[in-house]
Symmetry: C2
Subunit: 364 residues, 2 copies
Amino acid sequence: MLDRIDVALGERSYPILIGAGAMADNSSLRSALPGNRVMVVTNETVAPLYLDALERALGEVRADVCVIPDGEGYKTLATYESVLDSLLAHGHPRTTTVIALGGGVVGDIAGFVAATYQRGVAFVQVPTTLLAQVDSSVGGKTAVNHPRGKNMIGAFHQPNLVLADTDTLRTLPDREFRAGVAEVIKYGVIKDPALFQFLIDERAAILARDEPALRHIITRSCAIKAAVVAADERETGERAILNFGHTFGHAIEVLTEFELLHGEGVALGMVMAADLSARLEWLDADTARRIKRLVADYGLPIVPPMNRLAPDDMLDVMGRDKKVRNGHLNLVLVRRLGEVAITDSANMALVRETLAAGQGLCNG
Amino acid sequence: MLDRIDVALGERSYPILIGAGAMADNSSLRSALPGNRVMVVTNETVAPLYLDALERALGEVRADVCVIPDGEGYKTLATYESVLDSLLAHGHPRTTTVIALGGGVVGDIAGFVAATYQRGVAFVQVPTTLLAQVDSSVGGKTAVNHPRGKNMIGAFHQPNLVLADTDTLRTLPDREFRAGVAEVIKYGVIKDPALFQFLIDERAAILARDEPALRHIITRSCAIKAAVVAADERETGERAILNFGHTFGHAIEVLTEFELLHGEGVALGMVMAADLSARLEWLDADTARRIKRLVADYGLPIVPPMNRLAPDDMLDVMGRDKKVRNGHLNLVLVRRLGEVAITDSANMALVRETLAAGQGLCNG
């Protein structure tokens, strides 16, 4: 049996099915398709591992495949256009379905294609990384990067179905797996102290990739994201809490020229956000330390490469963030485990202290 | 005083303001902008005529301008990308507004940019052709062309405001003006016998571009389109009646390699659709002749260039149309003036008769 989370968005509602073998759930898959054609978008790393299994699940459905190169560097308008070319070359009608088989990059590109091919066609996500399963495959954000900024071109386009198959995590490189855990820690901090505790208690099982432990953290993460997205699909308010750790993290990613994985940037960003929360006396210092310790316990970075992250540069990049409104830095800060709040008026002297603190963060 | 039509789409509702000097209605314009930045997208023909007037209406608002080449041939992903580049080079935030100043091509490209820049920003249409004022600026369809098909890449993205300034029609070339009338005839046929009669009775005033006559046909056309779009924003049903004449017309455009203007293709397509309606005995032959005569009276083509429109080629292109579902040709046919219906089961022998009839259409 698979776990099921429903994302409640009126006529755009859809289920997320989670567990071992989710990809083989051909009845769910077939009933999510409005027509009898699909275009599978995947990459050169994932295709040899899982394309056969997905095609088996599709059975009689006429499937074309578009294999794109692996890596964030290919999340471009050029790759997007190549997938559109392929859809048109194969004569796909409006009733086609685009299926993303891969991690966040594949999902973001395929989703943007689905959002815009013939002004929008059906979309199914089959995420194969932990990060994509707990975060990017849920919520309808699609995008490609522009040389001047990440995710600058895109659309909101909800999938019809998400199949999060825990079996696919067995082949995930360790570093990518840990980066995915960063987003799970985020959900614990912003909404779910029990999940935070589970991450502490079941660390060995999670790192051993035991199915019940994986399924639990994915299901809880998706349930939290689904509830937040249902309340604020287009990020006009509440949804911004999902950016906890991301404003700092994104600036770190930019200044380290994306040598860090997104989840690693988020990990560092969460430690900084917790540190700032403590400096502002929103949060007790002990909880800030617990957050930092959990991040460290999953082998995620807690010490930023300070020589490349001068506070002025960090503030400069943070000030150019998409999330900046009317010149104010919007930050998600912690009040207690499970409760965060958004502020656009954090004391900038304390923000600078956090940025300058480096290894001394939270005196951890 | 300007006429006002409201497009009722819940939280995406917006007004269309119609009349001489609509572009100078700076209070409406300013209140449609969520922030204090705008990007005006226009073309090299329209910019020298109307950009100054629009910039005056914008007053203190910080306006950047992106001038694209004139013509359907530039309605491409490359032009779309150049506008995105300009938005990013000038650091436009999420609160920016894209303003389309021009005809259908400018509106379609600028709208697709607005739909996808940072996953969607505000959009204002200032249409300067009759076709754009009565059709393409209303309803939220945005798109660019692909070498394999028109409007194959795009999104639904409603504007915040449409300013249809009848003064701008004074500079419109005669051929383009008449092509715009074709869409007005369409509204008369599908929904409004009184508008059809107005086009007959007031032909001299309309062709002389008298403001009250222009304002009347634009306001009626927008009112009809607004009602249809409000009932079916994403064209899952009723909205398809707006395609009257367009399935034939689009195939004619393709086979004549776009030497005809869109409105000219629609004019020929409407004559064919009326002819087929009469052959199927949905419509009396006299009304089919009246439709043909009105099209001719506005100097629009009623005789297709038969040597380039072999019935087999027409059927082939029509079969590849976006609007084809499950292999069935969807056609909008006329029952009487003001009433059309959609069928996917027209007698193909009679469709071929219409396509082969050429000059003999309706024995007119």
